[in-house]
C-alpha cells in the first residue's frame, strides 16, 4: 500500500492539498459573512417607517453565510486527506493565463482596449503557442480590427480607446 501511494504521488506531482484550499475558502466565506453582518448593522436592522430597515435582510444573510461556512469547515474532514487541489505544474499553467490577463485588464483604461487586446493575443501566441511572428501579427491585428468593425460599426457599441486611437481619429 505504502509503495502504491508513493508511486501515485510521483505520477501526480506535488501541489496544495484539497483540504488546505477548502479551509481557506471556508475562512474566506466566513469573513465575508462577518463583513456583511457589520454592513447590515451599520445600515440598521430594526423596524423603520418603511418596514424592515435596509440592513435587516443583509444582516440575516450574513449570519447564514457564517453558519454555512462553519458547517462547510466542519465537513472538510470528510474529504480525502491526500487529495490534491491541483499540481504546482497545473497552477503554473493557470498563472500563465492569469498574470497576462491581470496586466491586460489593468492596462485597458490607460492604453485603450484595442492595443492591449492585440498585445494579449500576441503574447499568448508567441509565449505559449510558440508561433512565428508573422502569423502572430496577422492574427492579433486581424482579430482586433474585426472586433472594431463588429462592435463600433455594426452594433454601435463604443469601446475604451487610448492615445493611439485618438491619433488615428477613430
Amino acid at each position: 500500500m505504502a509503495r502504491d501511494s508513493s508511486m501515485s504521488d510521483v505520477s501526480q506531482g506535488r501541489g496544495p492539498g484539497q483540504r488546505a484550499v477548502e479551509i481557506g475558502v471556508g475562512v474566506f466565506t466566513a469573513l465575508f459573512g462577518a463583513i456583511v453582518v457589520v454592513g447590515g448593522l451599520q445600515a440598521g436592522i430594526g423596524w423603520g417607517a418603511e418596514g424592515p430597515r435596509p440592513g435587516f435582510f443583509p444582516f440575516y444573510i450574513g449570519l447564514l453565510i457564517i453558519a454555512s461556512s462553519a458547517v462547510n469547515l466542519l465537513q472538510i474532514r470528510l474529504t480525502d486527506r491526500w487529495r490534491r487541489f491541483a499540481e504546482w505544474r497545473q497552477l503554473r499553467q493557470v498563472l500563465q493565463v492569469l498574470v497576462p490577463t491581470a496586466i491586460y485588464v489593468v492596462a485597458i483604461p490607460y492604453v485603450g482596449i484595442y492595443l492591449v487586446s492585440a498585445a494579449l493575443i500576441a503574447v499568448f501566441m508567441v509565449w505559449l503557442g510558440k508561433y512565428r511572428w508573422s502569423l502572430t501579427a496577422a492574427i492579433s491585428i486581424g482579430v482586433t480590427i474585426a472586433i472594431y468593425l463588429m462592435f463600433e460599426k455594426f452594433f454601435l457599441v463604443p469601446l475604451p480607446k487610448g492615445p493611439l486611437e485618438e491619433l488615428l481619429y477613430l
Binding site: 484550499v21 475558502v25 465575508f32 454592513g39 453565510i65 462547510n72 485597458i108 482596449i113 494579449l120 499568448f124
Partner: protein, 503 residues
C-alpha cells in the same frame, strides 16, 4: 384559443427579414459558443448582451435566445467528436456519443443528438405555449408574500436538488444575495454595504459575475488541463441522416420520458445538467439493451440530449410567466429584459404581447433553423475546435473583457470580472456551485423587496407566509424541496425496513 392567434401574430413578428437575420446570426454564434471551451450559454449570452442595446427588445431577445439554442446544439458536437463536453449538460452525451464516433458512427450519433435536441426543445416550447399564459394569469393575483414564496421555492429546490453539498450551495447562494444587496437599497434608497467605496455605489452587476465566474473561471480550468484536442472526423451526409431518422421513432418511449424529465427539471430550477444525467440513468435502467450503455448505444445519446434541451428550453417558462429564471442563462435573459426596460413577471403577457409571443414563436423557428444549421455545417464547427487553445484562449478573454466593459462602460467592471473569474475557478475546484450565486445576484433585490413588503403588510409577523392556502402551499413545497435529500433517505430507509423488500 387566444393563444393560437397570439402565436401566429408572434410568427409574423419573427418572419420580418431583420428578425430572421438576427435569428440566423444568433444560432451560428451560439453553436460557435457551444463548441468553444470556456464559453457557454450563460456567459456567451452575457458577453453578447451589449450587442443588443441598440435593438428593439423583440429582436434582442430573439437574438439572445437563439444564441442559447445554438449553444445547446453546439455542446453535442464536441461531446460526440472530441469527448469534451462543451457544456456541463452534454457530459452525459459523451458516454455513448463518443464511443459511437470511435466506431465510425459519428454521423449517426450527431444526427441522433441534434434530432433529439430538437424534439426535446419542441416539446418544451409546446408546453410553454400552452402553460405559460395560464401560469402568468394565475400569478397576476400574487401579492408580495406569494412572490416571495415563489422565490423561496426556487432557491430551496437548488439546495435540495443540487448535486453539490447542500451547505456549499447555501454559502454560495447567500454570498450572491449579499452581493445583490450592495449599493442603493431599492426600497428606501439608502446606501448600504458600500463601506465608503464609490465604486460600489451601483452594486455588483450579475452580468459581470456571469462573465467572470463562467467565462474566465472556465478558461482557467481548461488551462490547468493543458488541453490538446484530438477529435474524430465528422461526416454527415443525407443518407446517414435519413437512416438515423428512420431508426429514431423506435425509441419514442425514451424520447417522451426524457421530454417529461427535462421539462420538470427545467421548470423547477434544477436545470439541464441533472436532467440529462437523470434521463440517461433511467434509460439505462429501463432499456432492454441497458447493459450495452456506454459502448455506443444510440439510445444513450437520445435520452440525455432530449432531456437537456427540454430542460434548457422550459427553463424559460418560469422566467417568462413568473419572472423567476430556471437556469443561469434564463437569468441572463431576464437581466436583458430589465436592461431593455421591460418588467419581468406575469404582466409581460398583458403589456408586452408582441415581445412574449415573438419570443415563443422564435423558439419554434429558431430550433428548426438550428437543426438545419448544425446538420449541414458540422464539419465547419468541428474545425473551430482544431484552432489551438493558445490562439482561441486570448480571443475569448478579449471578448469577455469587451462584454464586461460594455455593460456599464466601466473599466472597473473589467477588473471585477477577473476577480470573479478567480473566485469562480476556486469555487468550481472546491465543489461550490456557481448557478445559485448568479441567480441570487439577479433575484436578490426582488426577493428582498417581496420579503420586506410582506412583512410591512403584516406589521412584522412572519406568519404572513402561511396566511392563506396559496402562499402556504408554495412555502410547503419549498420546504419539501429544501429537505428533499432527508425525506428521500427516510423513505428509502423505511422501505428497506419493511420485510417484503428483504430478498
Amino acid at each position: 384559443m387566444e393563444e393560437i392567434s397570439n402565436l401566429f401574430h408572434g410568427f409574423a413578428v419573427v418572419l420580418q427579414p431583420f428578425n430572421l437575420l438576427v435569428m440566423l446570426f444568433g444560432i451560428v454564434l451560439g453553436v460557435v459558443i457551444g463548441v468553444l471551451p470556456g464559453l457557454g450559454g450563460a456567459n456567451g449570452v452575457a458577453i453578447l448582451l451589449p450587442l443588443t442595446f441598440s435593438m428593439s427588445p423583440t429582436s434582442a431577445i430573439i437574438m439572445l435566445s437563439c444564441i442559447y439554442w445554438g449553444a445547446l446544439f453546439g455542446g453535442a458536437i464536441t461531446s460526440v467528436l472530441f469527448n469534451i463536453p462543451g457544456e456541463p449538460w452534454s457530459v452525459a452525451t459523451t458516454f455513448d456519443g463518443h464511443p459511437m464516433a470511435q466506431q465510425g458512427r459519428a454521423g449517426e450519433a450527431l444526427t441522433a443528438a441534434f434530432t433529439s435536441s430538437f424534439v426535446g426543445a419542441l416539446f418544451a416550447v409546446v408546453v410553454i405555449t400552452l402553460v405559460a399564459p395560464l401560469v402568468a394569469l394565475f400569478a397576476l393575483q400574487f401579492g408580495p408574500p406569494e412572490k416571495f414564496a415563489v422565490f423561496f421555492l426556487a432557491f430551496c429546490s437548488f439546495i435540495g436538488m443540487g448535486r453539490e453539498p447542500p451547505f456549499k450551495t447555501v454559502a454560495s447562494m447567500m454570498i450572491g444575495f449579499a452581493l445583490a444587496a450592495v449599493g442603493l437599497d431599492s426600497v428606501t434608497g439608502q446606501l448600504r454595504l458600500t463601506f465608503g467605496f464609490t465604486e460600489l455605489l451601483n452594486g455588483f452587476d450579475f452580468l459581470i459575475a456571469v462573465i467572470g465566474l463562467f467565462g474566465i473561471g472556465e478558461i482557467l480550468l481548461t488551462m490547468e488541463e493543458g488541453l490538446s484536442f484530438k477529435g474524430r472526423a465528422a461526416g454527415i451526409n443525407p443518407k446517414v441522416v435519413l437512416q438515423t431518422w428512420a431508426e429514431l421513432p423506435r425509441y419514442w418511449i425514451t424520447s417522451l420520458r426524457s421530454c417529461l424529465i427535462g421539462c420538470w427539471m427545467g421548470i423547477s430550477p434544477a436545470g439541464a445538467t441533472p436532467a440529462s444525467f437523470m434521463s440517461y440513468g433511467i434509460a439505462k435502467r429501463t432499456s432492454r439493451r441497458g447493459d450495452n450503455f456506454g459502448n455506443g448505444e444510440i439510445e444513450g445519446v437520445i435520452a440525455p440530449e432530449t432531456a437537456a434541451h427540454a430542460a434548457g428550453t422550459s427553463a424559460l417558462l418560469p422566467m417568462l410567466s413568473l419572472g423567476v429564471p430556471g437556469s443561469p442563462t434564463a437569468a441572463v435573459l431576464l437581466g436583458g429584459l430589465l436592461i431593455w426596460g421591460l418588467q419581468p413577471g406575469p404582466l409581460l403577457f398583458i403589456e408586452q404581447k408582441e415581445f412574449v409571443w415573438g419570443l415563443i414563436a422564435s423558439m419554434y423557428l429558431g430550433n428548426l433553423v438550428g437543426l438545419v444549421v448544425v446538420l449541414t455545417c458540422v464539419p465547419l464547427f468541428a474545425a473551430i475546435l482544431r484552432i489551438p487553445f493558445s490562439i482561441i484562449a486570448p480571443i475569448i478573454l478579449v471578448f469577455c473583457a469587451i462584454g464586461a466593459y460594455s455593460v456599464h462602460n466601466s473599466t472597473f467592471d473589467v477588473i471585477m470580472m477577473l476577480v470573479f473569474g478567480v473566485i469562480g475557478y476556486v469555487m468550481k475546484k472546491s465543489n461550490y456551485p456557481l448557478a445559485p450565486m448568479v441567480l441570487a445576484i439577479v433575484l436578490g433585490d426582488r426577493a428582498e423587496e417581496a420579503f420586506r413588503q410582506s412583512l410591512l403588510g403584516s406589521q412584522g409577523s412572519v406568519a404572513v407566509f402561511w396566511s392563506n392556502g396559496l402562499v402556504g402551499s408554495i412555502m410547503a413545497l419549498g420546504l419539501i424541496a429544501l429537505f428533499w435529500p432527508l425525506i428521500n433517505d427516510g423513505w428509502i430507509r423505511l422501505r428497506a425496513r419493511s420485510p417484503r423488500r428483504v430478498l
